[in-house]
Symmetry: C2
Subunit: 152 residues, 2 copies
DNA sequence: GGTGAAAGGTCCAGAGA
DNA sequence: TCTCTGGACCTTTCACC
């Protein structure tokens, strides 16, 4: 599926505010509500729009500490890697996990209440996984920018 | 504002799918639509719910390369830091930027089309900012997990 | 917190550019 | 092929119980 300028404009709007009506979006892109609806439906079908979610402020629900945790595995066989990935997927503290280039294998973004909860995550969860080599933690002091919107 | 179990349940639902009607959410938490509506409105007012957005798959709109860029500044005076933060806020390639503990000052999450576009960002944008010391780039090979939902 | 009703949005069929 | 109009149906929002 290729996106024309109208599609891209709609995407930019929806990525900022998904609560606007098709009519309001139509006014912004010089179309009526129906073509807006049709274009959105097609982008949903194509998997370009993955879904609609509410964004919650972590600090206001007691998740004030954000940590980036770089993990280096001991062994790099296929099974060891798949095991790690499966287990990390289950950890509710882990919001993001990436398999990276470079000396560290994985980069995790972890959201917890405080340092005590982070220590618990490291000692009781991460360290108990098979095959963990080294772990390096970097703590977020300030969030300067956080966009969920992709630049289209 | 303190959240009871019903509020938390509503937040968990909305963070997964913001398109459900108040009636559907009410069925899931054993309430009618109105109290669901009132609770959501209060959480919006309190800033717990920051907004509603569409999630777009970066790979399907030509942003296939995700890079974590660690930046170390040369000087750490107040003005130098504020300058960097203001400029990075304007860069559309930068989806996230955090002021970090440790030897690196900032961690950026950058989304671009390909390596050529990343090189352009580093050479033409980042390196042109005053005060940049060292830059280390780590590339995402695979996204194992990416949650926007905060664990409440 | 529930009920019910007004206002307005979504979704789709049919027609036209 | 893409867009508009009109209408059935559903949701949001709010006054009242």
């Amino acid at each position: 599926m290729t996106l024309d300028d109208t599609d891209k404009k709609i995407l930019r709007i929806l990525q900022r505010n998904a609560k606007l009506s098709h009519k309001q979006i139509g006014d912004a892109v010089n179309k009526s509500a129906t073509p807006v609806y049709e274009r959105i439906r097609k982008m949903e079908e194509a998997g370009i729009v993955k879904g609609y979610v509410a964004l919650v402020d972590p600090r206001k629900v007691g998740k004030a500490l954000i940590v980036f945790t770089a993990v280096h595995l001991d062994r790099h066989e296929h099974d060891a890697i798949k095991d790690f990935e499966r287990e990390i997927g289950k950890a509710e503290e882990v919001m993001e996990c990436y398999h990276m280039t470079g000396t560290d294998d994985y980069l995790l973004k972890v959201a917890v209440r405080d340092m005590e909860e982070y220590q618990h995550f490291i000692v009781e969860k991460l360290s108990r996984l098979q095959n963990i080599g080294t772990v390096r933690s970097s703590f977020v002091m300030t969030e300067i920018k956080h966009e969920t919107a992709v630049n289209v």
